[in-house]
């Protein structure tokens, strides 16, 4: 398996030199996760290796008014069958008019301003098994019309088809006692994963202020969970996706070295009608200690009206972070974050993300994560170091 994959990767590195009709880029990588503690459940392991590949095929025509982007992604994990997965991150036809743009296909959209809690960002589903940091997203089918006006940008979205969240499998770490059974997901809507969702957004920049107002109606990206016993008498954790309406606002004020951020949502789902808020600041000190490095100080507070009822981890939590950018030729960056749950003083997590370019085309990434052991934390035993080496081409 691994040998075969190495051959494919070698081919992919050679391929670009042969093609010049369109743009071809991408990255391949190898990654390992080293867990500090022995696993809690016997199907799990202490070390994991994986390989990943993200390719990008791009072609444009009609004076670049039209373009097509295809971005397949794959990861193969040594142990976890669920983490070995393939996804079309993008397959998007973009047509740009004079003051409008139409995107048709599969794509990714980001809304919001915060670092720790992406409250407002809702179009794409988390590819949680790929990384728990919330950054990898599954490609979302969409038709997106953008209207660019003097008074802001209006985005209309029709989202045909829903993507289920990915979760670690039986052999994976970073899960609770029961692995989530992604083969038997349930839905509130009778259309299940074929429900067509709808979203509308207005965003604008006015001097030092950037603001966005959004509305979303459709399948909840955050599942609820049902405990079920299957026909063999085995308990299963089934994700349940209800229907929601959500209004949201995201706002950033940028003054000198200060970024002030706020995100808020009002969501009506099958069980609740609630608000949640997340906001804070990032202050950057330039040229610390007579160097050319920048130090960013981040503080963000999150609150969720549902409290313990909620499925969201950000119910009354504080995040403190430090971002160190070296501004060197290797673009070295370190981000350290400490998440403190205010309702439970002994519940917290700590993580460091660091990355650095090596030579012209390689990149090394380190992620170190610690979780406190607590009855509310299913992954308290899963402190780990993740090392990833990527090659760009």
């Amino acid at each position: 398996m691994f040998l075969q994959l190495c051959r494919i990767m070698a081919l992919l590195i050679i391929l670009p030199s042969l093609s010049n009709a369109f743009e071809f880029n991408g990255k391949v990588g190898v990654s390992t996760m080293l867990f500090q503690h022995a696993p809690l459940y016997k199907s799990q392991h202490q070390q994991y290796a994986s390989v990943l590949s993200e390719l990008e095929f791009y072609h444009d025509w009609n004076n670049a008014q039209d373009s097509l982007l295809f971005k397949p992604y794959a990861r193969i994990d040594q142990h976890d069958n669920e983490r070995s997965h393939f996804d079309i991150r993008e397959l998007m036809w973009l047509h740009a008019g004079d003051d409008w743009e139409l995107r048709t296909g599969i794509g990714k959209v980001f809304w919001g301003v915060n670092e720790s809690n992406h409250l407002v960002d809702i179009i794409n589903q988390d590819d949680q098994v790929d990384d728990i940091n919330g950054e990898p997203k599954l490609g979302q089918p969409m038709i997106n019309l953008s209207l660019i006006r003097d008074w802001g940008i209006v985005d209309l979205f029709i989202l045909p088809g829903f993507r289920e969240r990915t979760f670690p499998g039986e052999e994976g770490r970073l899960r609770g006692f029961l692995a989530v059974d992604t083969d038997h997901a349930e839905y509130e809507s009778s259309a299940a994963e074929k429900h067509v969702d709808f979203a509308l957004r207005w965003s604008h920049s006015m001097g030092d202020y950037d603001i966005g107002l959004s509305y979303f109606q459709g399948t909840d990206r955050d599942p609820h969970y049902k405990l079920k016993i299957n026909s063999h008498g085995v308990p299963k954790l089934i994700p349940y996706y209800d229907q929601i309406n959500q209004f949201s606002v995201d706002f950033q004020a940028t003054f000198d070295g200060w970024l002030w951020k706020l995100e808020a949502i009002k969501r009506k789902d099958e069980f609740d009608d609630f608000a949640a808020v997340s906001g804070g600041f990032e202050y950057t000190i330039n040229g610390i200690m007579d160097s050319s490095s920048d130090l960013g100080i981040i503080a963000e507070y999150s609150w969720d009206e549902r409290g313990d009822r909620g499925i969201n981890q950000f119910q009354n939590d504080m995040m403190f972070g430090l971002r160190l950018g070296f501004n060197d030729a290797q673009s070295t960056e370190i981000l350290a974050g400490w998440m403190q749950y205010l309702d439970y003083s002994d519940l917290r997590s700590f993580q460091i993300e660091a990355n650095r370019r090596i030579g012209e085309n390689w990149k090394l990434l380190l992620d170190l994560r610690f979780f406190s052991e607590h009855k509310l934390n299913p992954i308290g035993q899963d402190d780990h170091l993740q090392i990833t080496l990527e090659r760009y081409f």
Binding site: G107, F110, V113, T254, L259, T284, D294, N327, A329
Partner: protein, 295 residues
Amino acid sequence: MMKAITILIFIILLCTPVFILAGEAEDKGMEIATQRKIHDQGWGDSSAEMIMTLRNKSGQKSIREIRIKSLEVIDDGDKGLTIFDRPLDVKGTAFLSFSHPLGNDDQWLYLPALKRVKRISSKNKSGPFMGSEFAYEDLSSFEIEKYSYKYLADENCGDKSPQPINLPDVVLQKSSPANKTVDKFSVDKSPQHKCFKVENTPLYKHSGYTKIISWIDQQEYRVYKAEYYDRKKSLLKTLTFSNYQQYKNKFWRADQYKMINHQTGKSTDLDWKNYQFSIGLSDKDFNKNTLKRIR
């Protein structure tokens, strides 16, 4: 703005005899800066490609490739869109900037992996651009309001002034038919330049410099050399411009910038190519949406 400058020049000319007593050097400095701005006014919009070569003390090289689209804004700083092609891990990253002569610029950074447009703080104009020896403020547009001025002397721009290209074939090749917007492609052939030596003092409170000494030629008001003095008032960097080319019969652009950091021994070269003017860019090409789809 044009009107204001005309009035300003008129006032300067009218009052010259009076000012001889006080602040003559300052007035002459201001006049040179005003001429410099006038000589480069009306370019409208442009695009160019640039290769940036970073060298450390031991000569190790690192290459960056970027493309820049610019829009002239008459009553304010210019608008710029910068697209990163190399190194490959930042390919697709794009940077949108609305500059303001004295206040903070409005800046957005597009991160393609996250599809995220981030509004970023622009206070750090003195910070390094892509790990190079160029600070953001070294690459921003020249605006009169950014500095106070003091004329120091007339000086020859010296041996290090640009080497004229005397190979017309090369020039013809460069001026390919695709590059229709270049009306005339002339090469600077004058063997020696008489320059004004001017001291510029940044008025922006977060500038990384206490002063910049620049050498500006007396015919065309092009900058040939600039010396940057750090916050401790010691010489930090020297920038030299060479191979000036004229576009649209008026606007001069240097093909090569060379920045040497005297304190670290590091250097950065910028090699510009494919300068194009009047390609029809407008405000519509400089917003958050274009930032997301630019290639």
